[in-house]
Symmetry: C4
Subunit: 255 residues, 4 copies
């Protein structure tokens, strides 16, 4: 069991017929940019934070001297459609942690009224494309066929969907609701607002709402700056890792 | 504790005197091909799925836009002999996960009437052999001697049997039933229907049933195509792994 | 869940209004030197030891033939200000272990009267500086602003604070108290008493006590000698790791 | 929590005043050879087996077609002195598993009458020595001083004792009994009966019994042959590790 702490930010009543939307960090940060844009545009209210013991064991430092905790956040959006949106600055680190977290994310979503799950992410193709395609995968064939009418593609690579975007479909099914993953084509090595926009366009058409895209690019730029800093920090961490304890590997069988 | 969710597909009554047969992915996919062929030929019915939190944290994507969950499946075969067959698209990732999963597989088998366990697998020899030998290992000397009469070999390499094929023998013994592993010689780097056929021939002779082999090769070819795609996906995943969080290694002792 | 055993050394009554101070091993051992100096100067009494099942699986050997257990220790300081100080010879090895340990450290601190947390550590800059700056990060903006008046800096690198020094801030917040991390600039590859001294000077000014620094350098030298030995031991461990079992990596998917 | 299954082999009554002796696989297999020799010479009776879910996830294959399970075994020795001896073909793989296992080993020992713990092992020095020294480390200074009278050395390297040989001292102390580790100097890369003999000579003198050494070398040779085979198996396992799932590393943060 991997412990996950719920920190309630605000009392909210469960919605009647919401969709659960996931936009955690991932390839090209496509899902994250798209889901954050939804929350900002529709003035989503944060009502819950999750602290998973398999998140990176750290806090981030802001320029104003405050710390940012590693967590996942739930936002409630009531208009134009009911949504429970999951944002966050991290996914779980280990495979087992990813299972426990995805299970929790879906359980909270359902508790607050979600009747269906949409996970948003990127599909890395290793090169830049002018007009990024949007791929879809669904928990039932009927659902997949319906999605096709909106111009999404089906992947032919036989590959998979890793992390929360994939496992939340598994736990949706296991909890009796259907799920869809929308993946925007993306090079994979860049923060990609263009792909996020493409995903968002399909998503809004499928679900049936309109959304202004003006500020999406700006927000993506802020995120890019932030991620650049994180990247630098990680390099420093790597440089500084001493003194270092004997690794698990080394410790085995010495007696 | 590593959580394993049971998803019941169909109500079935326990058999009276069944054998538990394991054919999960492994070297040369020998056991998997053999066990799938049994299920297809004898029209096994799926009655239960297991979702282990130590499976790869992903879903696979089919060409029709649906997702395939990572799981292990139980099939019931009533004729020509009673069998509970375990298939699946994965084994558990970590050593601990493999213990919990093997324990569960044996417990479910016994619950549904298994009085003995057969695990089917490959034994990698690093080169192609014209007529693959079949090796056996058993949980008692008496049983091993009986197997010898069917022309199986005993391994002299002092090695082991790793994963479910090995641990299900451990948990069979711990739960009061005996177990046998049948291993077909295989190069180790190829999907190997010829080795699977050799294992199946010995297995059917030992247990006492006849099985038509016509479609085995075709099925193996389909599996090979599928695995080729998975392999490509894994390469992509490796390419795309950015942004990357600081690894466990890096995080230690920085403060 | 990762088990942590409490071993009571001495019965002490909870303080009324203490601060929790963390000085576990970390970069440049800055926090460790500073916190040990506090305990020695103010004659802190050890009252509790923690044994975490995610500490390195070993004991250390002293020159007098006794063994030193891997643990974290709590000291109570009553004058000049009330403090609960955490020392120790290790942090937890895995990310999950670090979460469970940090949670426990904060819970024990609060149980014994802590109303606020200070974690002391180093901030690696990769080069030697004449006058090491002291950086601060806090769990609220109000607190951060107050700290600024004492001449601490805010980090602009967008990075993080890894291990107990970071996570104890998370668990302080989750348990309803505020927290501050003070980080002394340090090259990162040396035991750094100068940085420890800089941190201690800021810390004592912020909290409001005076502390004699005469013996700090001497103590740091002892620690350096000790760490040099540990480093040699680790190299030996690496050399001696045989026989070696198949690694997790190797064990996967062989069947 | 890491599950450990107890399999009772024989009902035995607890001893009144026994010592717990550990001889699990480790550097040079010094402890293992010494402890096995004790069990064989004094006709120890196996009464309990432990199956830890953090042991290597495999079974070993014997030449007679039977399988050998990975486990730890408890033997009871009544004469010439009361002993509970721990043998086995493996230690736990992960740091956490090593903690849970060591805790269990000590708990079982105490349950069956152990009032003191001796762990036997090797101390790798990287070169062959004519007359291997025997080093000791104890859980109290008083005990260490007593040992010195028997001609054991104290280590000056500032290093540690890794695995069960170290952690069983920790859990002895935590459970209210004292413990000693005896380490025979050994090159580290060879199975070393000479070092095992040296340890056994000191051990028998300290505890006060006589033991015939005639068959020790022969037994060590058998063990060496066996380990050579294991080594070959591990190399094969490494060769055969395909198909291979995406590693934890690869799976992170792809979405």
């Amino acid at each position: 069991m991997i412990k996950i702490i719920e920190r309630k930010i605000k009392d909210v009543e469960a919605l009647e017929n919401a969709i659960l939307v996931e936009g955690l960090p991932g390839i090209g940060h496509v899902g994250r940019i798209a889901a954050e844009h939804i929350v900002r545009e529709f003035k989503g209210e944060k009502f819950l934070e999750l602290y998973c013991y398999d998140f990176p064991p750290q806090v981030l430092v802001n320029e104003n001297g405050t710390v940012e905790f590693m967590n996942n956040e739930f936002y409630i959006v009531r208009e134009p459609v009911q949504m429970i949106v999951v944002l966050g600055n991290t996914q779980a680190l280990s495979p087992i942690g990813q299972y426990y977290l995805a299970e929790k994310l879906v359980e909270v979503g359902i508790k607050y009224g979600a009747k269906m799950t949409y996970t948003l992410g990127g599909f890395g193709v290793g090169k830049i494309t002018d007009v990024p395609k949007v791929y879809a995968a669904a928990t039932s064939e009927e659902l997949a066929n319906k999605l096709k009418e909106y111009g999404v593609e089906f992947r032919k690579d036989g590959g998979g969907i890793v992390g929360a975007a994939g496992l939340m479909l598994t736990f949706s099914k296991l909890n009796g609701i259907e799920g869809v993953c929308l993946m925007g084509e993306t090079p994979g090595y860049l923060v990609d607002p263009k792909s996020a926009r493409a995903v968002l366009e399909k998503f809004s058409k499928i679900v049936g709402f309109e959304i202004d895209m003006k500020e999406l690019e700006e927000r993506a730029k802020d995120m890019e700056k932030f991620l650049e800093k994180i990247r630098k920090f990680e390099e420093e961490v790597m440089m500084q890792q001493q003194p270092k304890p004997p690794s698990d590997e080394d410790l085995r069988y010495i007696g």
